[in-house]
């Protein structure tokens, strides 16, 4: 059963061995071209790229996916639209993107194993899993000026009194798009597409200048 289900899709581990292959994150060019101001005591925003994580798009019905995730990752789907759930370690997150679409982010190197286990568990259910790890990157923003920096950049209401920890939305970011998530009291995350990453990075540096934005490398 599960063998035949697996055979009907092309299950392909596109991750290389990072020890033997030169790897470039989506911000590699930007860091070289635009530089990375070092964080200082004056920095009210600090940016860091969490490169090379595993990003999987899950499609399908909430109930079956929830069950499978609980089994495979020991954490279920977030219960409400535009929210996230994390596993106990906080290293794996699942974000609602649409009624039949979620973004699962796992530590680098885990994506393929997770995909395989989910596929095995889901077998003949109606679902899809797509690895998009190479196509996006996660940036964390920390500091007291993050909400104001985000107000310069996105149309969504990011006032901390409105945007609770655990919320995440896909929205317009300047003239690109980004997923905005709040993972802690003063910690926010952006998921940006690779091809727009340089634009988003330059935008953040420019808009963050007045907050003495620093970039941790």
């Amino acid at each position: 059963m599960s063998d035949s289900a697996l055979s009907r899709v092309n299950l392909f581990d596109s991750r290389a061995d990072h020890a033997s292959v030169a790897v470039e994150s989506p911000l590699a060019y930007s860091l070289q071209r635009s530089g990375a101001p070092a964080p200082s005591a004056a920095s009210r925003v600090v940016l860091r790229e969490q490169a090379f994580l595993g990003h999987l798009i899950l499609r399908g019905g909430a109930i079956v996916l929830d069950e499978a995730l609980r089994e495979v990752l020991d954490t279920g789907l977030p219960g409400r639209p535009n929210t996230l759930s994390w596993d106990a370690s906080g290293e794996r997150s699942i974000q609602w993107l649409s009624p039949d679409e979620w973004l699962l982010i796992v530590p680098g190197g885990e994506a393929f194993a997770v995909e395989r286990r989910l596929r095995e568990r889901l077998a003949d259910a109606s679902f899809a899993i797509v690895d998009v790890s190479g196509g996006q990157t996660l940036l964390t923003l920390e500091g007291e000026a993050v909400p104001e920096l985000l107000m310069k950049s996105v149309v969504y209401d990011v006032d901390p009194s409105h945007f609770a920890v655990g919320k995440g939305v896909n929205t317009v970011f300047a003239k690109a798009t980004a997923i905005v998530r709040r993972s802690g009291e003063t910690r926010w995350e952006l998921v940006v597409r690779r091809s727009f990453a340089d634009y988003c990075y330059r935008w953040l540096l420019d808009a963050g200048e007045e907050y003495a934005i620093g970039v941790e490398r």
Binding site: R80, P81, N82, L97, S98, P99, E101, V155, Y156, V169, N170, T171, V172, T177
Partner: protein
């Protein structure tokens, strides 16, 4: 600039996240080959264009990527309701000539209808 309630995200979102997609409930004829040129042209190009209550389709393009329908007043721009594809509006104006014809012929079926 509009603020639109996305029936899938279940919250009000800014117009910049959406794209308007024209009149709602335009159904592709089930058997195109049976359509006359005139019927096909009507399906492709002819639209209600009311000054008042209008049902239109939008997509939450930068959001959940779902299509849905909006009942909006085309003069006041007030949004009277939004509803999922496959659902019918609860706020309606008098049916237009085109709508009346379509409903008597009972050709409306499928989720877009």
């Amino acid at each position: 600039m509009f603020q639109i309630y996305c029936p899938y995200c279940e919250e009000l979102r800014e117009e910049e996240e959406f794209h308007p997609k024209g009149q709602a409930h335009i159904v592709r004829p089930a058997d195109p080959e049976a359509c006359s040129d005139e019927e096909w042209g009507d399906y492709l190009f002819f639209r209600d264009n009311p000054r008042g209550i209008h049902h239109e389709m939008w997509v939450h393009a930068v959001g959940c990527r779902k299509f849905f329908n909006v009942t909006r007043h085309t003069v006041s721009y007030a949004i009277l309701e939004t509803y999922k594809i496959g659902e019918q509006p609860s706020v309606t104006a008098e049916p237009s000539a085109g709508e009346a014809a379509a409903s008597t012929a009972d050709v409306r079926q499928g989720v877009r209808a």
